[in-house]
């Protein structure tokens, strides 16, 4: 296990492995997205209260989940880079930030597009929306620190500290609908014994959630490869990789 981890965290091995994995991950992402969208937009019936507007849920909720999941991956990778100085961990953290920010933005924007017809307003300063907006600014902060300064490793350390401090916001977002009386509706799925959603809607929602996970893996590996190439452009393994057109 340690041998494998050590091998995997070597930039040269990761670069080659990621190059091989990306087409497969992209194909799985595409198939899952097709299945999830077909199930959500075509097969699932309209909601008895919200009509067809609820169909925004199939992109809104997976995006919101991803915004939290990616933040935890980013903070964990940042922490590992901070403590053990593993280059690959810094690259994973740096590459996760823009993807996480994108999902956070999608969650906020689609929520707004859902809120307008249902609540009659694009935005309210309630606990769930505000804490998610703070998450977006945390991502922006991490991205800004990444690109600040000449030395990438110092920048990685600074942004990892910000990411770790910002982890405090994650449980706040998750429990905000329970702790405060908000306009945002309560959890749809997490009540595992009796989710407040019908199977014909739950299945495409879960497929979309898995599709977003695979999408993240695809985009992350692509970004990580470019980032590695940029940081390591003088290493021997890069010369070899480029010679073999990898």
């Amino acid at each position: 296990m340690w041998y494998w981890l050590h091998r995997f965290s070597s930039p040269a091995y990761f670069y080659r492995f990621a190059g091989k994995a990306i087409p497969w991950l992209a194909a799985i992402t595409g198939l899952l997205l097709l299945a999830g969208l077909y199930g959500g937009l075509v097969l699932a019936p309209a909601d008895y209260q919200q009509g067809d507007s609820y169909r925004i849920i199939f992109i809104h909720v997976p995006s919101a989940w991803m915004s939290l999941f990616i933040y935890m991956v980013m903070a964990t990778a940042g922490g590992i880079g901070l403590i053990w100085h593993i280059k690959l961990a810094e690259v994973i953290a740096a590459s996760s930030a823009p993807i996480g920010a994108s999902f956070t933005f999608i969650a906020l924007a689609t929520g707004s597009l859902w809120g307008k017809p249902m609540w009659g307003t694009w935005w309210v300063w309630d606990a769930r929306l505000t804490s998610e907006l703070i998450l977006l600014f945390l991502y922006f902060g991490v991205i800004a620190l990444q690109s600040a300064g000449e030395d990438k490793r110092t920048a990685s350390r600074a942004s990892a500290i910000l990411a770790l401090v910002g982890v405090i916001n994650i449980p706040i977002i998750h429990f905000s609908v329970e702790w405060w009386n908000t306009l945002h509706q309560g959890a749809t799925v997490s009540k595992m014994d009796a989710p407040s959603i019908h199977t014909s809607m739950l299945v495409p929602l879960l497929i979309m959630a898995v599709a977003c996970k695979f999408y993240y893996a695809t985009s992350l590996l692509m970004r990580a490869r470019a980032e590695l190439l940029d940081r390591e452009h003088n290493s021997h393994w890069i010369r070899d990789a480029l010679k073999n057109h990898e």
Binding site: G51, I59, T110, L113, D230, H233
Partner: protein, 58 residues
């Protein structure tokens, strides 16, 4: 045909539903294209530089 029109109509919520999915498509598409372009550019630049260095010191 009528079904298709109904599908795009989204029970009157077409503007909101399709804006949401259109926006997500643009943002997620960009997150695939941007790293692709960056990787291609870097590969080309580095390959060029290595070729030049090899020519200078045989």
């Amino acid at each position: 045909m009528n079904n298709l029109a109904e599908f795009f109509h989204m029970g009157g919520y077409a503007l909101y539903v399709w804006s949401a999915y259109g926006l997500a498509t643009v943002v997620l598409g960009y997150n695939i294209l941007a790293p692709l372009w960056r990787l291609r550019g870097l590969q080309r630049r580095l390959a060029l530089r290595h070729a030049k260095n090899n020519g200078a010191t045989p």
